[in-house]
Symmetry: C3
Subunit: 485 residues, 3 copies
């Protein structure tokens, strides 16, 4: 029958792929992964000198990020009326694979030079793995409802690999600051997903799909996602910041940016409707744009005022994007962006990158004191013999030579990383899109999009509604086809 045709049957594909990947993970973890000294019983000091154990400094922040990745992203996507199971459960599946693979691929690229071939896991690797998975979940938002779980698992593996390379360039090659990952996570995830969606373009959905909408309660479920993302975004942007004032500043800046963003979003949403009514899509998404927009410079001396400017701007632009830009992207550029990730992660991420470059370029000892060289280690003189280095080393005996950049130069490098991120995201998304177009991955047909019934045993009540909708869409499409011919 129409719903489970041979080409989309998951019975062999999904188990074989999931088991193969999990076995691969097991082998690689067995060979390479070990506990970080903070978690290894052999290092006895970590029992008693717990104050220096990062665990107690970062664990509650990690859990906030963890909630964002699984509850936040998962429930944000439950707004679709017949795709709630898939939204929240494929999110879990993709992230559970994603974090395992991220620990490996990030570990390979950031190996300690003294311990080649060993990947140490501790609280920082768990946070970074969650971050890396978040990028894939952003891309998932662009293709939501149009891909099989098999396609999503493949996308996770490919995307995270390219993500880690770009992250490596950002941290170790170009050496840029991006505390909340607005470039590395949000810009990357958004443009990667948009490009995948472009390659997987469906002519049959040009006029929409009758299931691509919300019900009253599905919209309220989505607000659970929104609120947890909104509340814990200060933890996201501060999770890997330097401890002390940098981390605190990242929290404060994000808190105020998000608060300002809410007012801007409500104002814009009402303004853009003929009757002044609010649109749930805007409230669910654009209220979060402030968290993205402040991400790159969250730990810098941006000032609460600066944070609120960014949040206000992001709220307006993101809302306007949902109203005006998304339809154009779909009709002119053939980019079908289910969740509007371009408006929530893409554009606000660009704003963040530019803001980060500007704030970095304006950094000075006057504002930061000597902490300037802790927040921006790239400004530390590169020569150990340099008297300026000596003076700094007298103050902070743990520092190492840096790049000797000027703040302005650092700003330029920040922009360079934005370019690299965009290039890698678009190229990576294109490659991934072509891989996903191979006919083996059980991609749903157009009428079956945005519907759980392909992949789930459904309760009686929804089964009927859902299949009726699919049949209706099939009929509409056929009629549409007739009209067009």
């Amino acid at each position: 029958m129409h719903s489970v045709s041979g080409s989309t049957n998951m019975r062999v594909r999904l188990p074989v792929l999931a088991i193969s990947l999990q076995v691969l993970m097991l082998v690689l973890y067995g060979v390479f992964v070990r506990y970080d000294p903070s978690a290894d019983a052999k290092y006895e000091k970590n029992d008693t000198v717990w104050e220096t154990n990062e665990f107690y400094l970062r664990y509650s922040t990690f859990q906030d990020v963890h909630v964002m990745v699984f509850v936040g992203f998962g429930f944000l996507m439950t707004f679709l009326k017949f795709y709630g199971y898939s939204s929240v459960a494929f999110n879990l599946l993709v992230a559970a694979l994603g974090l395992q693979w991220a620990v490996l691929i990030q570990g390979f690229l950031h190996q300690d030079e003294h311990h080649k071939g060993v990947i140490y896991v501790g609280i920082m690797s768990m946070i970074n793995a969650d971050f890396c998975s978040a990028a894939v979940l952003i891309s998932f938002g662009a293709v939501l409802g149009k891909t099989s779980p098999v396609q999503l698992l493949i996308m996770a593996i490919v995307e995270e690999t390219i993500f880690a390379i770009n992250e490596h360039i950002a941290i170790n090659v170009l050496q840029v600051n991006d505390a909340g990952g607005s470039m590395v996570i949000h810009v990357f995830g958004a443009y990667f997903g948009l490009m995948v969606s472009r390659i997987l373009y469906r002519e049959g959905l040009r006029d929409g799909h009758s299931s691509e909408c919300a019900t009253y309660h599905s919209d309220i479920f989505a607000m659970i996602g929104t609120l947890y993302l909104w509340l814990f975004w200060p933890s996201f942007n501060s999770a890997i910041a330097l401890k002390g004032d940098d981390q605190m500043r990242a929290v404060i800046n994000t808190y105020f940016s998000l608060a300002a963003c809410v007012l801007a979003t409500y104002a814009a949403s009402s303004l853009l409707d003929h009757h002044g009514r609010l649109d749930m899509v805007h409230i669910q998404n654009a209220t979060l744009a402030g968290g993205v927009a402040v991400g790159t410079c969250a730990d810098m001396m941006l000032s609460p005022f600066g944070a609120m400017i960014l949040g206000t701007l992001a709220g307006f632009i993101s809302t306007a994007g949902y109203k005006f830009l998304s339809p154009v992207l779909a009709s002119k550029l053939n980019v079908q962006d289910t969740c509007g990730v371009h408006n929530l992660h893409g554009i606000p991420g660009l704003i963040a990158a530019v803001a980060g470059a500007l704030v970095a370029a304006m950094a000075s000892e006057e504002t930061y004191g000597k902490s300037l060289y802790l927040t921006f280690p790239q400004l530390i003189p590169s020569n150990k013999e340099d008297p300026a280095f000596h003076a700094l080393h007298g103050e902070f005996n743990f520092i190492k030579p840096g790049r000797g950049r000027s703040p302005a130069k650092q700003g330029a490098f920040q922009i360079a990383e934005l370019g690299v991120t965009l290039a890698m995201a678009l190229a990576g998304g294109a490659i991934t899109g072509f891989i996903l177009r191979l006919p083996w991955w059980g991609q749903p047909s157009d009428p079956n999009c945005f519907s759980d019934h392909l992949y789930w045993e459904l309760p009686e009540d929804s089964k009927e509604d859902d299949e009726a909708e699919t049949r209706q869409h099939t009929v509409l499409q056929m009629k549409g086809g007739e009209n067009n011919s």
Copy 2:
């Protein structure tokens, strides 16, 4: 048409007000707000001596409070079947404005005498801003479903201003203890909201409204709010307590008070129904009364036993309030209290105030040791030359002269603050009510109350239900009018 008549159209009002307020915030933040030293890069010590950084002591507690304010209050109000969008989303809007304004107004009133004209933001200001917003959200509960978002924004600005003055009196003038803010937040927010609701009294809702009820799933959504409030209330009551044993005690007392309150609520709810059935309204709300009732004395040496007595009492009284008092308030005093905030915040807050006064009056060195003067700095001798002060200063070299009050006198001051709080709440609520009655704020007409359709673009399914209900109510009202005439 009926639903978006000119008088309630938000298209101009809401954007203009929201943008004006946000611009005002931007200007004031630009001029006055700066990072607290704990978040300012210039203060280098905060990098290394992180142990003394309040951030690591209070951030996870702050996040619990943050969840309570946005998820707890927001979802608690989603019980109404056609007002779920507005409940959760207006809660977000009001709180996002509220916290920005709270930082300013609380900052102005608690300025450091050495740094006039500067407001420093750190973790404590964020917690206090969330607290201040909570008071507005309590008031929101009283007028839920009967006010436009424009009215709510205005209420937030006026209420927080009066809140901060009352808080200033409590902390700096009368110098009372109120760890969980049961007087300053709960009593204030409840009676303020009740007075606003009284002034906005609607004759047309005297016999109820067909939309003022729950559906099966909306009640379960509301339980999300209930549970997060219940779980994190120990964090709420301990968030600004002194670090160390005071904070721990506030957690323990609240934990046990809430547990006892649950049993009392279920017992009372079943007892008060003819068939012994439980009422979701009681479970959603009265189970939380124990958190309010223990709030003022949460950090005092109340004993777990004392906490459980308060919780049990609060559960019974709050449940009985929903059953017997609310209908009387509505019919006799014309106070229409949608969420029953009088039973959840009002009466339990009065219990808290009296309990706090009693426990303070019974405080002694025998029970507290010398810590008595840390928990109650008002008892420290006021004269630096006093030998008793000298002895204390030898023990705690950071203390400053106090008021030299006796514990009994402190108890009297606690009661005085209750009186001040009630007076300011009722007067403030009356003023606000009259402001909100001005015809410019798009207040919904009676038939349009408790309905999202005025303010939201709704999905197809709910639009029909919702509008049918509104039409039905209009007809019923007209008939009622005919009958009355």
Copy 3:
């Protein structure tokens, strides 16, 4: 009438029992319970030396556990279409009583020998009380929908008493390690509940009940429970572990075990369906089995690889259990297990116990260094004069003589505790089952099972659906009876 016949009317029973129990708690708390020194104002050092205050180390972890117990377990059980109120609200009721009783009964059994007759409450007692309540909630899952709240309160009191005795044997007599309580909490709670369910066997539900199923939205509500359990399980397994590396290791092991478990569950669920469709029951439950399976050895040097092996195994076995074992248990052994706790807590708990014994038996100084004797204090020589003890005491001056066990012997003791746990759970469950069969507790009749309408005032919409379903089931049953005769 059918729905509230005399025998199930709660009006007298529930209030009388709840009030009696709460008064009993009040008396016992008044007599026995005092603040732990960390929360007692008299102990002045806890103000200033806060770094050593367990509160700041464990409070955020406690809150994670707290969320699991009330939101996690509560919402996980909301999957039933007509039993959502009861699931989430009876969970709250039972846990609120449970934690009060647990503090008492655990306190009596673990008294400080110098302070007989006094129970001190602090952060550790709150965590342990939540743990103890969790066992009851697991048992609740087995009898979900078939018991009155009065029966559940009685079960809580009896079960926790036996729980505490078994826990006492585990900690003080057999001295085993069980960081995440996979034996003491999960195996105990599961087999206790299964035995209760066996004794309460209902012939009338042999062919199922038309209300024992989910709706589309009830399944999404249940995913809220699943996700919070999944996310915070690392906190559960580490909450009472030694501070430092032990706690960190418990987090890491649980994180990876759960991630691997997700992939195994999805693979198995798809594989076991004819059309390769996923089953929400598996996703909601079996994805969590990895948290149980790694619980006993979570703080040991298991390695991330070992954790992932356990998680993968648990995911497969748990999913297969839902598919194949649960129907057999019901039809052959007359064990009707509503939530399938045997598959989520029972079997994975057995895996955990065996894995814990094996990993303990393989522990060595080579792997753990001298920390071996901190993680396994049972291996410390029992004789103070032993030179090996002297050497250890030189390293860790706080240690006391242990049992002088070899690692292999410790492994044997671990298995012995599994046997004790199973025996006490089955015997305790049988006793409890017979108590609950007494005709006074208002147990619902077969047609009224899985339905809120007996215990709740319901909104109009659901009342009709629910009662129609009950009538239908009554008719079906009567017909079934005719056919059988």
